[in-house]
């Protein structure tokens, strides 16, 4: 009896992500990362609800610009999807354009965040100080948005690598998984921002 025939007789549980192990790996990483953000947000909730003099975020933080930043990040998720789709359909020009736009979106987001931070620091909000009340307001603001900003920065670098790798058409209908995996990370960073925006700015 040949080996392949024997193998077929045995129950074969197919891999969860047969197309790419990296995809499962990224999902697992994101679960761990979500726990880190979850801890930060839970700690934020705990200190905020225990505080008597927590300022109303809308009075201190500029909601309008942040709403635009949120919109920008959501748009960059859309261009990420378009970039992946272009790679899958062997559309090299589309791949370059849409991944480039995604990187641009992330970069503008970072620029606006730097502007926002500078502005707030000038008006007195720092890591351990807050002229409008609880000092932990400043602490949690900078730590949570900073931790997210680091993720965006990492994502921009990651996508730049993907763009450089795929510039000459490495990614196509047969080999698009690295783009898809980078996309998973990018969408996660967007999703986390929506949480951060809701809890830190809006509520």
């Amino acid at each position: 009896m040949s080996e392949t025939a024997t193998a077929r007789l045995e129950p074969f549980e197919s891999p969860l992500t047969p197309e790419s192990w990296g995809k499962l790996g990224m999902w697992i990483f994101l679960v761990g990362d979500a726990m880190t953000f979850g801890t930060l947000l839970a700690a934020y909730g705990a200190v905020r609800f225990a505080s008597a003099d927590w300022p109303h975020p809308a009075d201190v933080l500029g909601i309008n610009m942040t709403a635009f930043m949120t919109f920008l990040l959501i748009c960059s998720s859309v261009t990420m999807v378009k970039g992946l789709s272009a790679a899958r359909h062997d559309d090299l020009a589309g791949f370059r354009r849409f991944i480039g736009l995604t990187i641009l979106g992330g970069a503008i987001f970072l620029g606006l965040q730097a502007y926002e931070w500078t502005h707030l620091i000038h008006s007195g909000l720092t890591l351990s100080g807050n002229p409008w009340g609880a000092s932990l307001f400043g602490t949690t603001f900078f730590i949570i948005t900073g931790f997210h900003g680091m993720h965006v920065l990492g994502g921009v670098g990651y996508l730049l690598c993907i763009l450089a790798l795929g510039w000459n058409g490495k990614f196509n209908g047969h080999n698009y998984h690295p783009v898809e995996i980078a996309g998973l990370y990018w969408h996660f960073v967007d999703l986390v921002w929506i949480m951060v925006f809701t809890f830190v700015y809006l509520l």
Binding site: A7, E10, G25, I28, T139, I143
Partner: protein, 591 residues
Amino acid sequence: MSEAGAAVHAEHEREGFVRHYIFSKDHKMIGRQFLFAGLVMLIVGGLLAMMIRWQLGWPETPLPITGLFSEEFWDGDSWLAQTLPYGTITSEFYNALFSMHATIMIFFVVVPIMVGAFGNFLVPIMIGARDMAFPTLNMLSFWTAVPAYILILLSFFVPGGAAAAGWTSYSPLAAVPDYLGVAGPWGVNLWCISLIILGFSSLMGSINYITTIVNMRAPGMTWFRLPLIVWAIFIVSILLLLAFPVLTAALGMLLFDRLFGTHFFLPEGGGDPLLWQHLFWFFGHPEVYILVLPAMGVTSEILPVFARKPIFGYRAMVYSMIAIAFLSWIVWGHHMFQSGMDPALGTAFTLTTMIIAVPSAIKTFNWLGTLWGGSIRFPTPMLFALGFVFLFTIGGLSGIFMASTPVDIFIHDTYYIVAHIHYVVAGIIFGIFAAIYYWFPKMFGRMLNETLGKIHFFLTFVFFNLTFFPMHFLGVGGHMRRIYNPLHYEFLEPLQGINVFISVMALCLGASQLFFLANFLWSLFFGRRASENPWQANTLEWTAPSPPPHGNFLTAPVVYRGPYEYSSPEVAEDWLPQTRRVEVASAGGHG
């Protein structure tokens, strides 16, 4: 297939020394690296424990090292003369001793050996894979852990000494550098940084283990044909993935409090010390099961092999591990009964803690059921596995006892707790020894010496119990945990005899480990050559050569059965490897 085999050998020989032994991507070499790192730290952690016992047995008596150095040396300002003036353990150094003993044993010994070493070595080979899913990430996981090891060891030598706020680093004690009363803040700072780095290493490991087990099982290796140690590593990887980031985030906050003047855990700035306790124990209780589940897996591997019987209740073993993993998330409050907690909430935590005893008891009874009616052999790995079951039972029972809030309020922060944690966590070291004695032939291709192994077991078992059992009496007598000098308290003076007894036994326990050290080092180079399957076991690693080559198997294995079919009526031998196909001659054979 033979071509592939030849290719494997060629690749093996082409690797230089550095690629083969240092920056290796082979899961078996990385496993060995974690094993050596963990064993070195086991020696360090053990020596710290010896010094703790010295101080408690003979408080403020110079260690027997004073005579080794001249009067001039002790008057000088070398590190040793400053830390241990004239060989005496100072109260500051004592705080660092017990803090670092626990930190090292938990984070740098048990997890690296169980998950890093045996998880790495066993998972791919037991599921019939050639390597891990991400070999480079695996290498990176080890080399990320190395700086964490170096920093935690270096922290002894910074001004003010190593972290001294306990392994739990409760705030505000740990959140304000001045509160510890030592000369510099870098002990606790380095402690935080080292554990944050270790968190990254652990995350990489989890990604690798989970992906490997989900995606790379050999044909026929269904979920319910997985050896229980692989199930244990799988569940532990999920727990580590979910729990360690919580600690990492909390450590980050603690570090910000210490370095940048934030007030997460400081009431004067609107923070909450209890927040640290909640975050720490939300990580810390799953961590307890992260430590114990692999030892349970090791025991479940070893008992059937040496009882020559299938494991009793394979599926119940799997489901109870899953139940333990789930329940471990909702019991953390039992560490905080004394921290100020709503009694109703305390009752809820009491209940969940008692419920977690049920799956643990299922496992214990299943081990007994496995032994029942078996033809038991007693080589060293079996002795250590049985030792683990014994110690886990005692530690588990005292756990149920103090899960009850009123009992816990009485014995909280006494030596009763110290006795409990050592029966469980130091009992896990028995699981580690069992694993080392059992898989050493596969890891290094040589057998450990049986006589030395048996001497090691009996001395360790006897002195372990004589060391840790009397601590229950100390605890009930009111002996506080983490005190520097028991003679400072009048009501503890009558108990000092027990302290002296424990210290003598602990020193003997430490000395007994020399038999292991000698056996390990001697056998590594001169031990009897191991055959492919010295224990006549069923699991896949025993079908590979000892030690297995890069790529593990010469031909890709196909799995036909579960891992524990010992004394099967289908074959003449009393073992039946997972890869062996038995032609069933007649339908009557399956009655």
